[in-house]
């Protein structure tokens, strides 16, 4: 029986559309996996020396203290990306398998997920280094075991968290509050949790606690799924209660308002687009790396404009580059309805402009780092609106990956989105403003640099209609290919 399960699994992996699409994608996926593995391993191996020799601290103690954040962060990532493979269970229900077997199989399947394996690449080298530096081997192993059991507990906790919408906000809030409290030295939670994790080393048999917890969680998960293995219970997809909205205030935009209203509903009501918005929100804080002087490599003056482009352009890049893929699920409707491409494009453009303005306002906290920093951000915003807004739409016209709005799959980038044309269009988006600024900055003064970027942004407006004509043409010539590509789901 297990044989059947495995062969099904094997086929579903190697025959999935995303896997079999193209060689480039496979290679890229391989590289990303290798990169992650390499970083984790190097980090694991080097962590000990970094902490012991550079910081003169006890490595085990430090790692144990950070661990609480590590675990919560892990849970957060799982919540966003790891999914219970419910869909694959349905066809098994009608077949002569015992229900218990199906549940065991599905749960064990998550055990081998990437999210669980990856941690080994950090902790195994770290533990090896610990042992080679005279730590007690048996105790290091129990420590490792304890941590890994907790990571696996996360795995099963995540299964229950799926669909609890409030989770993300609550956890993020907690992290931010605790992080700030710790940063300012008011309250340090790691002082209390660190020793707990260190117990696994100090008192080896305490490792039984997480093992027991894991077993309990497994059986709770098992009985929960066993009981809910019905199409209308555990296997049902969650239905949101629909709330109709008018958004009549958008009518002032005239003929494009009908699309704008739709786009706003699209963003609000779909998981994938919400993730994009969330990511673009995170982009706002990207500038902190540059302006706080946190990283030395980013101290060169031209980096400022680079940062500014990203701070205000998060939504532009994460949403804009996938127009028209956002509408892929109902593209045949859009193509046969009474729609003018120009209005459709204009609506998306306005959306990008509005988002850029909103992020610029949200980014006012950068004034804390000086007026000049905020000036850079405003300059970046002007360039984003003037040039990048239509450049991303142009690049998007060549992207033919359908987007499944209801899942987060591929929300963190899609290899197919990177073809030669979109890469070429990256140049004016990022490189040009940096070069312009550098030209002004190093010849006369920083303000000439800003002025050059702003002028280019304003000049960009002049080419908006030209670029839109070009995009419209792309839409028309690629129409049938796009329709066919969007038909191939997942």
């Amino acid at each position: 029986m297990l044989k059947h399960f495995f062969s099904l699994q094997w086929k579903s992996f190697f025959r999935s559309a995303s896997f079999s699409t193209n060689l480039g994608m496979k290679i890229l996926m391989g590289f990303i996996a290798l990169y992650l593995i390499a970083t984790f391993s190097i980090l694991g191996g080097a962590a000990y020396y970094l902490i012991e020799e550079k910081l003169q601290l006890n490595a085990l103690e430090v790692v144990s203290r950070i661990l609480i954040y590590y675990l919560v962060g892990d849970l957060l990532f799982r919540y966003m990306l790891q999914k219970m493979p419910v869909v694959n269970i349905k066809p098994l229900l009608y077949l002569p398998f015992k229900k218990g077997k199906i549940v065991h199989f599905s749960l064990w399947k998550t055990v081998f997920s990437f999210f669980n394996i990856i941690h080994a690449f950090f902790f195994v080298p770290f533990c090896v280094v610990l042992i080679s530096n005279g730590y007690e081997p048996l105790q290091v192993i129990t420590w490792f075991l304890g941590i890994y059991m907790l990571l696996y507990c996360n795995n099963f906790i995540n299964i229950f968290l799926n669909g609890v919408n409030a989770f993300l906000g609550v956890v993020f809030g907690c992290i931010i509050i605790l992080g700030t409290l710790q940063y300012y030295g008011i309250f340090d939670i790691t002082l209390y949790t660190g020793p707990v994790f260190q117990l696994f080393y100090g008192v080896p048999y305490t490792v039984l606690a997480p093992i027991l917890l894991l077993i309990v969680l497994y059986y709770v998960a098992f009985s929960y799924f066993r009981k809910n293995l019905y199409l209308d219970a555990g296997l049902a997809s969650k239905h949101q209660e629909a709330k109709a909205e008018d958004l009549d205030w958008l009518n002032r935009f005239g003929s494009i308002s009908v699309f704008l209203k739709n786009d706003i509903k699209l963003i609000k009501r779909n998981k994938r687009s919400k993730t994009s918005v969330f990511m673009s929100f995170l982009f706002i804080f990207y500038g902190l790396l540059f302006f706080t002087g946190a990283l030395e490599v980013y101290q060169g003056a031209p980096w400022r404009i680079f940062a500014a482009i990203f701070v205000t352009g998060g939504f532009l890049f994460s949403f804009g580059q996938f127009v028209p893929s956002w509408d892929s699920a109902y593209y045949p409707l859009m193509m046969s309805q009474n729609i003018r491409y120009r209005d459709y494009l204009n609506a998306k453009w306005w959306l990008l402009v509005m988002a850029t303005i909103v992020t610029t306002i949200l980014a006012t906290f950068y004034i804390y780092y000086g007026w000049e920093v905020y000036l850079a951000i405003v300059v970046g915003a002007i360039y984003n609106i003037g040039v990048n807004s239509h450049m991303v739409l142009w690049g998007g016209a060549y992207v033919k990956t359908p987007i499944d709005l209801t899942t987060n799959k591929k929300a963190f980038g899609d290899a197919q989105a990177f073809n030669a044309k979109t890469l070429l269009l990256m140049l004016p988006k990022l490189v040009l403003p940096v070069l312009l600024y550098a030209a002004g900055h190093y010849t006369v003064c920083p303000f000439l640099g800003y002025l050059l970027v702003v002028l280019t942004g304003i000049l960009g407006f002049a080419f908006k209609e030209k670029v839109f004509n070009k995009i419209e043409k792309v839409y028309k010539t690629e129409k049938y290919k796009t329709l066919a590509a969007y038909k191939q789901k997942n």
Binding site: K243, V258, Y330, P332, L333, S336, I339, K487
Partner: protein, 244 residues
């Protein structure tokens, strides 16, 4: 008037549709029948310029559909769920289509009044997005949306499939109403021979991409179609003895 001229569609050397000539006059209620893979959906997709013809062309009221987009204002269609926007409520979807066709919210509300019976209280005012509706209810929304804004050409692919019996009768009534409107051409495809013979004034049978029958509907049509589609099976049955 819809004119199909030397139209063909080939996929990797496989001819899936090949129609030399087909003319559908204005005001006709036109039915398309054929087994799976006969080319019904391919023909409708070509009419809507969703796929490219391998040869020939389609003219919709003198507009060649793959050359100009001027057919869009007077043509409406419901082919499958890719014509629905999943994250909208049914009302929002109707308003969206209405706005595209120059109708404001009030106009759409007035329009929807006539379809209350058809919706049977299951569509409007509910707390569900289109993606969460059952297949049958999704279909009801799609079909009614295709009627918004007085289109002159309405294309419905298998409108009866997935509908409950009562709704099938209501839909037949709705389609028959278009008989009184000489300007409105309705094209439907169906597997249900009884329904098509009842509502359509003319029926074309497709087989392996070719038109094999073109019938003006009469009393005898149903019998004729039934004979046509059961012929193969009957001749097979004559050869193979049925084991009980």
């Amino acid at each position: 008037m819809i004119t199909v001229e030397n139209l063909s569609k080939t996929y990797n050397g496989n001819m899936v549709l090949s129609i030399e000539n087909l003319e559908i006059p204005n005001g006709q209620i036109f039915g398309l029948v054929g087994n799976n893979g006969a080319g019904k959906t391919t023909l409708f997709s070509l009419l809507l310029d969703l796929i490219q013809p391998s040869s020939g062309f389609v003219k919709n009221n003198d507009v060649q559909v793959n050359a100009s987009e001027n057919w869009k204002p007077f043509t409406a269609a419901f082919i499958d769920e890719t014509f629905l926007i999943g994250y909208l409520t049914p009302e929002e979807y109707f308003y969206f289509i209405g706005e595209l066709r120059g109708l404001n919210k009030e106009d759409v509300n007035v329009f929807l009044k006539d379809y209350e019976e058809f919706f049977h209280g299951e569509i409007l005012g509910g707390k569900k997005y289109l993606r969460d509706l059952s297949k049958g209810n999704q279909k009801k929304v799609g079909i009614v949306a295709a009627f918004i804004g007085k289109p002159k050409v309405i294309i419905l692919d298998e409108p009866f499939a997935n509908l409950d019996p009562s709704t099938q009768f209501r839909l037949k009534k709705l389609i028959k109403n278009f008989k009184d409107e000489p300007e409105v051409t309705v094209l439907i495809s169906s597997h249900d021979l009884l329904h098509v013979t009842e509502v359509c004034e003319r029926i074309v049978v497709l087989e392996k991409g070719k038109t094999v029958k073109d019938i003006q509907t009469s009393e005898a049509t149903l019998k004729e179609l039934e004979t046509f589609f059961s012929e193969e099976i009957l001749s097979d049955a004559a050869q193979i003895p049925v084991s009980e």
